[in-house]
Every structure is written in C-alpha cells, then in structure tokens.
C-alpha cells in the first residue's frame, strides 16, 4: 500500500528520523486549532496518493489567519490526477541550505534492495542527477556502508553524521515494515547543518499485509474494493463506461488494451482469478451492478477446462434476479459454447467467437 505523506511521516517519527513540526487535519475547524498550535508561517500541503501536487497548487505558504482562511479550503478542494484530498498537512517552514535525495528501493531485476542517493534532491527521481546506487541485499545498511554513501555524494562533518543517521533509520524502517520503496525527497540540509526530512514516500508490499496489523489503519479501501478482495478478485476502477471482466491479470490487461485501441473506454479492470465458475461470474456482475457509470460489460474468459454453459448460467441468473439490466458482450473460450449461445438467445448477453468481435460490438453498443 502507498502511504500518504503524513502517514509516512508518522512512521519516520516513530523511527527517530528528524522532521519539522506538522499536524494533519480533515476539516478547517481542526486546521484552525493546528494553525494556532504551530504558529505562522507554515505550509499547507494536500495529502493525495499521487505525485506532482506542488505543480498543481497543492502546496501553499501561509503567513497569517487571512491567508489560512483563503488557502485551506482552496487546497482542500483540489483534485490532482483524479485524486481528491484525503487530508491537509500543516507543516512549519524550513530555512534550508541544500536539498538531497535518499531512497531505499526494491530493485526487481537485481532482486535486492538498493540505496539511491544524490546531492541534487527536490525534483522527481527521473530527473535527479548524480545518482549514487548501492546494492544492499535484503535492506540492511551498516554504519560503514552509510558512511560510504555519504562520502560518495560529497557530505562531510555534521551533515554526513546526520545523513548516516537518517539512512540507517530509514533502512531499519524499510526492513521492519517490508517496504518496496522508502523515499525521502527532499532531505534538507538546514542552515545549522542539521539534516531534516521534508517529504517522504512509503510503499509497502501488499502481500505482507497479513503480518503488519499496525499498518492496517493506513489501508484505504472502498466498499467495492473490499468486496472484490473478499471474493478473491482484483479490481481497478477506471473512469470509462465499459466494464472489463476476465480471468487472469494478463488477459484482462490485454482486453483493456484492445478495447482502448478500438475507441472504447474501460470502466474497470476486474480479474476474477484463474478459474471461472457460475458463482465467481455472478459475484463479478454483482460488483459491476454497483458502478453507476457502467453502460456495458465486456467479458473475456479463457477457460481451458471451463464449460461456457456454466458461465452462461451466471448471466441468466443475474438478469432473472434483476441484478443487472446491461448488455453483456462476451467472448468465452471453452467447451460447449454452441449450447451456451443457445441458452442466452433472447437475453441481453451476446457471445462472440473472438474477443475482437465482442469489443467492436461493445464499443458500438455504448454509442447507440
């Protein structure tokens, strides 16, 4: 799961990483209280699970009450890359000399963790120059390695000490919480040469959630997502109007690609898992029935051993129970497909021999 900045900072604080004073709120009354406690000036920062919020106006300086009353609601109302504010963080301002970059990152192809550090921080990782990359196995960083990294990015004296301290704490945190990415950017050098974390990104391995009860409070999950998970499905909601359902992540992605190529707009990615049964398909239709934007359902099932008649039963049942009243465009690879077509005759589900035909029909279907 991807933590919001203020959540990542809660963990950083717990591990003794240097931070500025800050407070998170979800409404202006709470915010006013925090403003008083912190004292001006401070920064108002929107909390969204995407990058690029600075450019979008999601970070505003605030000098006094008037500015606060104006800017807090403005920032709260922003939508950045489709994401609404989850909270607002008020944070004291820093008098900084320089900005560094530091992260511990799971390197998938090398199958180990790596430290990435640079003396040129404060911009997105892709544009960071002079990167030092060091492989660190399962994530443990010794004093010696931390010193080496500090030296390689040209740090000395008190600044180097602060950097080494931060890196070792970040490593401990990354290991204990099973992070895929623990990033501090920027890591600021203050006028007095102390080192302070200004912004952080923290992504944990979802598959390790079962042994991190303490992180569950950060899990942001919609009702529909929770239901999908309970059924063992993977669901990604998108903003189009054709729901895409299939078995297997690769096959559903491939169906999304082809639908988009043909001018269709996917409303969701729904992977019901390797097999397909009457129950799983019925459950998938139940989920989709809760998405109001959906105008049609595109189904692509590759069942080597699945009987398509079994899947056809799910559609019939869904219409019969008034669960859905949407047209379904289905490609079902499996046995007994002729019989399945017969069963569905007269219903709003049409079965096609190829996924291309099903896609074209779905795209035409939502136009009419």
């Amino acid at each position: 799961m991807r933590l919001l900045e203020f959540q990542a900072k809660e963990l950083f604080r717990e591990y003794g990483i240097n931070l500025l004073d800050s407070k998170s709120s979800t409404n202006i009354e709470e915010g006013r209280k925090h403003a008083k406690e912190l004292g001006y000036p401070f920064v108002i920062k929107i909390q969204v699970p995407v990058g690029g919020r600075g450019k979008a106006g999601g970070i505003q300086m605030c000098q006094n009450d008037d500015e606060f009353e104006l800017k807090y609601p403005q920032v709260m109302d922003l939508t950045i890359k489709g994401e609404k504010a989850r909270a607002i963080l008020l944070e004291k301002m820093a008098d900084i000399k320089n900005e560094l970059y530091l992260s511990i990152f799971l390197n998938r192809s090398k199958r180990c963790y790596t430290i990435i550090a640079s003396s040129d921080g404060g911009v997105e990782i892709e544009s960071i120059k002079n990167q030092i990359i060091k492989e660190i196995g399962l994530g443990d960083v010794s004093d010696e390695v931390a010193r080496e990294v500090a030296k390689e990015i040209g740090l000395e004296g008190k600044i180097a000490d602060g950097f080494v301290d931060t890196l070792k704490k970040l490593s401990k945190l990354a290991i204990e919480k099973e992070a895929e990415l623990a990033e501090i950017n920027p890591l600021a050098i203050m006028q007095d040469d102390t080192v302070i974390t200004l912004d952080g990104k923290f992504v944990t391995d979802d598959n390790s959630n079962f042994r991190h009860e303490e992180l569950q409070k950060y899990q942001e999950i919609s009702e529909i997502q929770a239901q999908a998970e309970k059924s063992g499905f993977s669901l990604v909601e998108l903003d189009g109007n054709i729901a895409v359902v299939g078995n297997g992540a690769g096959l559903v992605m491939s169906t999304l690609d082809m639908l988009s190529d043909n001018g269709g707009k996917p409303a969701c990615f729904l992977d019901v898992g390797g097999g397909a049964t009457t129950e799983s398909v019925y459950e998938a239709l139940t989920l989709i029935s809760k998405m109001s934007r959906v105008k049609a359902i595109l189904v692509n099932l590759y069942g080597g051993i699945v009987k398509t008649t079994v899947v056809a039963e799910a559609f019939l049942k869904a219409y019969e129970n008034n669960l859905i009243d949407l047209p379904v465009f289905a490609r079902l690879k499996g046995t007994e497909s002729e019989k399945a077509k017969e069963m569905l005759q007269g219903s709003r589900t049409k079965i096609y021999n190829s996924v291309e035909e099903a896609i074209n029909a779905a795209v035409m279907g939502v136009k009419n």
Binding site: R108, L138, S234, G250, S254, D257, S260, G304, K333
Partner: protein
C-alpha cells in the same frame, strides 16, 4: 547455467528417463489436490505428496504422503517439487524442499511476500536449485511433462519456446500458436510477482541453445524492467532465431497494481512504451493483440528463411 531439460527429462541412463518424479507439496489441500489429479491425468509422474500431519496416508489410494520433504525425497529420490500451500506458509515449504535437496522448485502460490521470495532465492542459490515463480502457472514440455496448473489443450509438442509473465495469456497465445501449426518445445511461466525466481533473462539462457529451436515468443506485461533486460541480452548474445514479443498493459493507468503484484508502472519505470521500444531496438516485432503473435512469427520465419 542449469540445464532445465536435463532436470525435466533426466539422462538416458536414468531409470526414470523422460518420466522424472515430482513431489507435490500441499497435495491434500483444495487447490493442490485438484492439480495433482490433473497432472497425473496429463501424464506427469507424481511420486509423492507432502502434507504435515498426514504422513502415512495415500493420495487417491496411490501416491504416498509424507510429513516432510526430507522423508519424501529419501523415499523417492525426486529432484522436482511443486508447491501449492497458502502464501503465508510458502517460505517454510520452500525451505523444507530446498534443504531436502530439491533442484527444481515450481512455486504456484500468489501473494507471497517479496521478502519471503528473496529469502527463498538466497537459499536456492546456496543449494544450486532453480525456482520457477512464485505466482506462476508452472512449466510444461508439451506431451512430455507438466509441472503446473495449466490446461494441456492449448499446448502441442513443437519447436517454439514461450516465456510468459501471465498465466491465461500464456494459454491464449500458445493456443493461437498451436492452431497456426507452431508447437512448443517448452513454455515457462515466469510469474506475475515483482521478484521472480527465474527472470525472463534466466529463462532465455535456459532455452536459447535448444538445438532444434525454431523461434521464441515472449509474453510480457507492464512493471519492472525484465523485458528491457531480456531485449538487451538478446542483442548482446547475437541470438538470431525468429523472436516475437507481446506486452500487456498499454492502456493501464500509472501507479495502479493491475491484478499481478508486479504489474505496476512507477513513474516511467515499468511502462509498456519502455518495453516496446527496447524490443524494437532488438529488432523484435511486438504484437498488438495476442492473435497477431503467430502471424508475426510466420512473417519473421519467412524473412529469416
């Protein structure tokens, strides 16, 4: 490099040449029992099962069940195992297998924590073992041996190697290849996790010197950079058999996990564009749709004549 064919087929002097024994870990579980039955039906020589606490029983009245991998290996001398246990028990099962001397471990479970995979791989390295997966459909030499959960209908013996991150796309594309007359010498499921026991590039090393190999199909998806690394290796190695790629996830949004734990674009890392442009650089055509794969392969074969 491990000779995967020697592991899967054995040597001509072996008593079990071409019918190597396989142990199923988690054979009495709901999932393990179904697939053990299917593998037996499809001709795989399942010699033992392991379920702690059920030692001494028999699966389907035939296959002996043991409490530990050590007992199963001692009794059968098998070098191959396939794991079906729930993800949270995977690490213990994998350790049990590797410590007992298993040389090829096929890891089926989805949702294994990355740390557990990395610990498994560290041990596998020490023991000189190959891990396929986790989150893989498995590995199959059509009409000879299947260690996995795939249906056998899409596959046919032949001379094309297929490497795939995805399960159902592997079936779909193999099916299209078979229909077009391209049988497969071997197909390897890499798995959809961020960290793979056998990466695309490792799988390539396993298959590139097959004497009568006529072509290679790579089925990739968004996330990570293993396709890019493979494309570079193909360039560097001078591999000249007709090769076609397919990449799923061109229309996927950034920073969303698309079903597979590994299928996520972070910034530009893991994007379909990056993978496609590297394959283009390696002069490998990238199909836009699964059904295009055999068409492009036929075209490439004609050219290389």
């Amino acid at each position: 490099m491990t000779d995967i064919f020697e592991l899967l087929k054995g040597k001509p002097e072996d008593h079990d040449y071409m019918k190597k024994g396989v142990i199923v870990q988690g054979i009495t579980g709901a999932y393990g029992s179904i697939h053990a039955r299917h593998m037996i039906r499809d001709g795989t020589n399942i010699v033992a099962g392991v379920t702690p606490g059920k030692g001494g029983q028999k699966f389907e009245g035939k296959v002996p069940i043991y409490n530990t991998m050590q007992e199963a290996v001692d009794a059968t001398n098998a070098k191959i195992s396939i794991i079906f246990v729930p993800a949270k028990f995977f690490l213990a099962a994998a350790k049990d297998a590797l410590e007992a001397g298993i040389k090829l471990l096929v890891a089926i479970p989805e949702h294994v924590p990355i740390r557990d995979t990395m610990l498994t791989l560290e041990l596998a390295k020490q023991k000189g073992a190959v891990v396929i997966g986790p989150n893989t459909p498995g590995i199959i030499i059509p009409e000879l041996i299947k260690i996995g959960i795939m249906p056998i209908t899409p596959f046919k013996a032949g001379k094309i190697a297929v490497l795939s991150k995805s399960g159902t796309l592997l079936y779909e594309i193999s099916d299209a290849l078979t229909t077009a007359g391209f049988g497969q010498s071997i197909t390897i499921g890499i798995g959809g996790d961020p960290v793979n026991g056998t990466r695309l590039v490792d799988a390539f090393e396993m298959i590139k010197d097959i004497p009568d190999l006529e072509g290679l199909v790579v089925v990739g998806e968004i996330g990570g950079d293993s396709e890019e690394i493979l494309a570079q290796r193909i360039i560097d190695s001078g591999f000249n058999k007709p090769t076609i790629a397919y990449i799923a996830g061109r229309a996927a949004p950034k920073e969303k996990r698309m079903g597979h734990a590994g299928a996520i674009i972070m910034g530009t890392y893991g994007s379909a564009e990056s993978k496609i442009s590297m394959f283009n650089k390696a002069n490998i055509p990238v199909a836009k749709r699964p059904v295009e794969v055999p068409v492009l392969l036929a075209g490439k074969m004609e050219k290389s004549g």
